[in-house]
């Protein structure tokens, strides 16, 4: 199948005071048409910045794309003019952001915000756009869409606002939906509603989806492939079942063991990852995870490991990945 999106060696930098922050450090991945991919990482891992860079949404200054390509449908998004990019953003690539409270304009009725995008991208008349907006709101399960279209954002709950954001994102039939922590601001029962909705809509409409999250549990049930990021690097990539069953990077292993299990009695002490993520202002020497890694060797501290092909559709950036296949507990000696 053709790749819908091919990202090659993407690097993003920010200037802060007199230092340079290395936010994204050469990430490469593909996404198939209709495929689903999760990018998982902690705050500061570069998971969101990498996505914003592709969409041309990094404010310059202070940030810029140092190098890389992002081929979407055969065209490099990073070389496109702002005008061309604007035609793709919101139409072919749509985004849903974390905070449904701030990503809607509080002084405009939601209907107007929905029809604005529909009119400009699909060239519909006002009446057609309103009809389309109502249809989309019905699709995302908002009750009484025809009346509620005149309401303002504050008249909706958090979950409803996120539904409206999803309706807006899907209103122009995008081929790629980027969901950047869409449920982080919501309660678990509402999160379950939204996850279910996105999963249903993906099946119905057949778009590709990139799901950005810090929650390894959340993405387990919603995607085919997972990328794990750490301090601007991809440290591991694998099909979802393989990643959880047999992680091949100590960071992934550590993350899985640092989270208690909902369905287990009398669990052992959590294996915590000691230390903190590295300071992105300093140039990274060696493996970025080495200072916190129980399996580090001399080589790890000196040379940045490449992203090894460890199997079909699997990659790991660990010098000792072959040895890691033998263990499944974080911190256990190799």
């Amino acid at each position: 199948m053709a790749h819908l999106l091919e990202v090659r060696d993407l690097r993003v930098r920010f200037r802060s005071d007199r230092t340079i922050i290395h936010a994204v450090n050469g990430i490469t991945y593909n996404l198939d048409e209709g495929g689903s991919l999760a990018i998982v990482g902690e705050s500061g891992s570069g998971k969101s910045v990498g996505m914003l860079a592709i969409m041309g949404l990094i404010p310059n200054p202070p940030g810029w794309v140092e190098s890389g390509e992002a081929i979407f449908n055969g065209k490099d998004l990073l070389k496109m003019s702002e005008a061309d990019l604007r035609k793709i953003r919101g139409k072919e690539i749509a985004m849903v952001f974390q905070d449904p409270m701030t990503s809607l304009n509080p002084v405009l009725p939601v209907g107007l915000q929905l029809t604005e995008a529909i009119q400009s991208h699909l060239g519909m008349t006002r009446e057609q756009a309103v009809e389309r907006a109502i249809e989309m709101l019905r699709l995302v399960g908002l009750p009484n869409p025809a009346q509620r279209i005149k309401d303002f954002p504050f008249q909706f709950s958090g979950g409803q606002r996120q539904r409206i954001m999803i309706a807006m994102a899907l209103s122009c039939n995008p081929s790629l939906l980027i969901a950047d922590e869409p449920t982080t601001a919501l309660d678990v029962t509402i999160q379950a509603q939204i996850v279910e909705l996105v999963r249903e809509l993906q099946q119905k409409l057949g778009m590709a989806i990139i799901w950005i999250s810090h929650n390894l549990g959340l993405v387990a049930g919603v995607v085919e492939n997972v990328i794990v990021m750490y301090s601007g690097f991809i440290v591991e990539q694998a099909p979802v079942d393989d990643l959880y069953e047999r992680p091949l990077h100590p960071y992934t292993l550590g993350l899985l063991h640092a989270v208690p299990k909902l369905d287990q009695q009398n669990q052992e002490r959590l294996a915590s990852i000691e230390g903190m993520p590295p300071d992105l202002r300093k140039p990274i020497v060696g493996c970025p995870f080495a200072p916190r890694c129980p399996y580090r060797q001399e080589k790890c501290e000196q040379e940045i490991p490449p992203l090894f092909e460890t199997g079909e559709n699997r990659r790991s950036a660990c010098w000792r990945w072959q040895e890691l296949t033998r263990i499944n507990t974080f911190g256990e000696p190799l």
């Binding site: 902690e42 705050s43 709950s157 979950g159 409803q160 309660d187 678990v188 029962t189 509402i190 999160q191 379950a192 509603q193 996850v195 279910e196 810090h214 929650n215 390894l216 549990g217 959340l218 387990a220 049930g221 979802v240 079942d241 959880y244 550590g254 993350l255 899985l256 640092a258 989270v259 208690p260 299990k261 909902l262 369905d263 009695q265 009398n266 669990q267 002490r269 959590l270 294996a271 915590s272 990852i273 000691e274 903190m276 993520p277 916190r292």
Partner: protein, 333 residues
């Protein structure tokens, strides 16, 4: 099971916030944040208090420490009714009951060194001489895993996890026996959360502490708590041993809540039967009549919309208690 002694007894606790309108700020109603909550906290246990945002779990924590005025009900600490104490008498009690806050950024004064932040409770309660206080601060830093050499640094020099350790050290300064931890890890990254939770657990064992652990992360609550209470719209819906509540829950809300939590296991996740609740949580200003959960409940019948279910003990004969507020709990078992 050994006979447990009760440290705190909470009886019919209520916190209502007035809604005021108009020029004369006439009261037109009230938000019933906590509306008649009763439970015991045993010595040496961790009681997990879970629920969605707005269910009143944080307000309950604040009210128990009387950091929030009560609208009704009583709180007994070691048999003494602290809800009727004057502010001055209460202040003396406060050294025994401390709080750890959610946000490690806003809960530390940026203009104070961490030494003076941690030592402040000692000054307030006039404990020890200046020299003894300084020694105690060093000891506390050591206890929470921070380098005592950091004593003269400011909060901005520390990461979120380290700041939370500072907040914990401050809470421990006066040797309290009871600590309310209000979402102590939800502002932290996953890899740091385990560090802080393990620290809280170690401290509890070492110092014989009792925790009220308020959180919305159910997996973490199961891990750290001995017993768990589930709140919804200002009421306790279910309360019991952690394994009972998580594996044999009898309340439809608890079940829905548990089924909504994602599990980090793709195979289990695909085969799970999820209970998706319809709609949103109703407003606590105007909670539904009868059982507060009935408009979203799949098992609701006529009685649920008319009569409010009492919190009943449905525990087995062996003395373990399992409190459930549902008319149909037996049928669901």
């Amino acid at each position: 099971m050994t006979l447990q002694s009760t440290l705190l007894q909470i009886k019919n606790l209520k916190v209502h916030f007035p809604i005021q309108r108009g020029v004369f700020r006439r009261q037109v109603g009230s938000i019933k944040a906590v509306d008649g909550v009763s439970f015991d906290i045993f010595k040496g246990e961790t009681l997990g208090l879970v629920g969605e945002s707005g269910c009143g779990k944080s307000t309950t924590g604040l009210a128990i420490l009387r950091l929030q005025a009560l609208s009704g009900g009583q709180v007994f600490y070691e048999g003494q009714d602290i809800s009727s104490l004057t502010e001055q008498q209460m202040r003396k009690m406060r050294r025994h009951m401390m709080m750890i806050f959610q946000d490690p950024y806003s809960s530390l004064n940026p203009r104070m060194t961490i030494g003076s932040i941690i030592g402040e409770p000692l000054n307030v309660f006039k404990i020890g001489t200046t020299k003894e206080r300084a020694e105690r601060v060093e000891e506390l830093l050591h206890l929470v895993g921070l380098n005592p050499a950091f004593i003269n640094r400011y909060p901005h020099e520390f990461s979120g996890g380290q700041r939370q350790r500072i907040g914990i050290a401050r809470a421990l300064a006066t040797n309290p026996s009871f600590i309310v931890a209000d979402e102590p890890i939800s502002a932290l990254d996953v890899s740091i959360q385990a560090q802080v939770v393990n620290l809280l657990d170690d401290l509890k064992n070492k110092l014989g502490l009792t925790y009220l652990f308020i959180a919305h992360d159910l997996s973490m609550v199961r891990y750290i708590s001995n017993r768990v209470a589930v709140m919804y719209l200002g009421k306790i819906m279910e309360l019991g041993d952690r394994n009972t509540v998580f594996d044999q829950s009898l309340h439809p809300y608890t079940r829905a809540l548990l089924s909504a939590v994602p599990i980090a296991n793709p195979k289990k996740e695909r085969n799970r039967q999820r209970i998706i609740l319809k709609g949103d949580v109703p407003s606590p200003a105007n909670p539904p009549a009868g059982c507060r959960f009935h408009p979203r409940c799949a098992f609701a019948t006529d009685i649920c919309s008319q009569t409010e279910p009492a919190l009943r003990n449905l525990g087995s004969d062996s003395g373990s208690q399992h409190w459930v507020a549902c008319h149909h709990a037996e049928r669901l078992g």
